[in-house]
């Protein structure tokens, strides 16, 4: 009997201590882990959509709360500001829209006047050779210099030439960028004043 109790106590204590240690380590590494993740996963896209900044957009990232979801939890979104001499002149953030095969997520770089600096497709699962061609610079490059009015497919009176045979994918990218540009006025105050 004493043996059994000893076994239970020892194993419980070891597991408990292990749990405490791990939750502590997890907490301590929370910040650097998130930073490392953003650095390697998002920085390449941020570099592709913004230029001429001298800060670290990942380190200076701003989290803005955009309303609440159905359960009442705040919806938070990350914005990556591009600064020159300490002044924010543009911001990069992601937006997504459903393409032909699930969501296409796009990193959009916009300056303070609402002009697109560049876009880059971060993730998609479109058809290779058709929808996947939306990632090519010949398509994404069309967005540079446009404002909300211009970001639309030519068929709908905009300036974006859809990729032939991939109008759904092209439309999804346009919708994602439009969504981002429509969001801009709401967050402008918070992002550009910091």
């Amino acid at each position: 009997m004493r043996d059994i109790i000893r076994m239970i106590v020892v194993l419980t204590v070891i597991c408990g201590l292990s749990g405490f240690t791990l939750s502590y380590v997890k907490q301590v590494t929370e910040e650097p882990r998130e930073y490392a993740y953003l650095k390697f996963v998002k920085e390449p896209s941020i570099k592709a959509v913004l230029s001429g900044y001298d800060n670290d957009p990942i380190k200076d990232r701003i989290i803005v709360t955009l309303g609440k979801d159905e359960k009442g939890n705040p919806i938070e979104k990350q914005f990556f500001p591009a600064k020159k001499n300490g002044k924010v002149f543009a911001v990069a953030f992601d937006a997504s829209a459903n393409g032909y095969h699930g969501p296409i997520s796009v990193m959009v770089g916009v300056n303070d006047k609402g002009v697109v600096d560049g876009i880059s497709i971060m993730q998609h699962s479109e058809t290779p050779g058709l929808g996947a061609r939306t990632t090519e610079p010949s398509f994404t490059g069309q967005f540079k210099g446009l404002t909300l009015d211009g970001v639309n497919l030519t068929a709908s009176g905009g300036k974006i030439q859809a990729i032939s045979g991939a109008s759904i994918s092209s439309g999804a990218v346009v919708r994602a960028v439009r969504e981002a540009l429509e969001l801009l006025p709401k967050i402008k105050q918070e992002v550009f004043s910091s």
Partner: protein, 196 residues
């Protein structure tokens, strides 16, 4: 004297993947480049040393019937610590090693040393044993990784060293290449060992 002996046995006489032929899963899987070998080796060394020390410390406290469960919990905790810190401070390596970091838990070298050595010896000797075995494992992984990287992509530690017309053997980077490489190295070690 015993201390030195326990430390050096892991470096040559009992170098884990070649002599004990233990821990082959990471040995074969992650050694596509020398750098991955070093990273995996160092992560394993950390876990080995820490778990050996803790197991040796607790060896009189842990009842023998639950020892394996206790060792696994101790080892798993250190592995998670390694995983979290790698994710925070060496993200590239973390991506390259992927699933094989959590799998250090089931690396039989770690449990093997805890069971065969640390549970019977004092803290200092266990630490020397863990350190020696870990360094031996790191060296072995680095050598295999180096050979495979040299033949498979013509470089060592990411630096191109082969002549320009060298055609890399893509085969060496695949699983069969790992076995062939391990086989040759085992053979070479046996030839050297037999002469003594």
């Amino acid at each position: 004297m015993r201390l030195v002996n326990e430390f050096t046995k892991g470096l040559w006489r009992e170098v884990p993947p070649f002599r004990l032929v233990l821990g082959l899963c990471p040995t074969l899987a992650v050694t596509t480049a020398a750098e991955n070998g070093v990273g995996m080796g160092l992560a394993t060394t950390f876990v080995l040393v820490c778990s050996n020390v803790l197991v040796a410390l607790l060896r009189k406290l842990i009842p023998s019937k639950v020892r394996i469960a206790s060792y696994i919990v101790i080892i798993a905790s250190f592995v998670v610590i390694v995983e979290l810190s790698m994710q925070a401070y060496a993200y590239k390596l973390y991506e390259a090693l992927g699933i094989f970091i959590p799998l250090i838990v089931v690396n039989c070298i770690v449990l093997g040393r805890a069971e065969a050595f640390a549970s019977k010896n004092n803290v200092v000797l266990s630490m020397a044993d863990g350190l020696g075995m870990g360094i031996g494992f790191t060296m072995a992984l680095t050598v295999i990784g180096g050979v495979r990287e040299l033949l498979g992509s013509g470089s060592v530690f990411g630096v191109h060293v082969m002549w320009s017309s060298f055609e890399p053997f893509g085969f060496m980077l695949k699983a069969p290449g790992a076995f062939v490489c391990l086989g040759f190295l085992l053979g070479i070690m046996n030839i050297i060992g037999a002469k003594k």
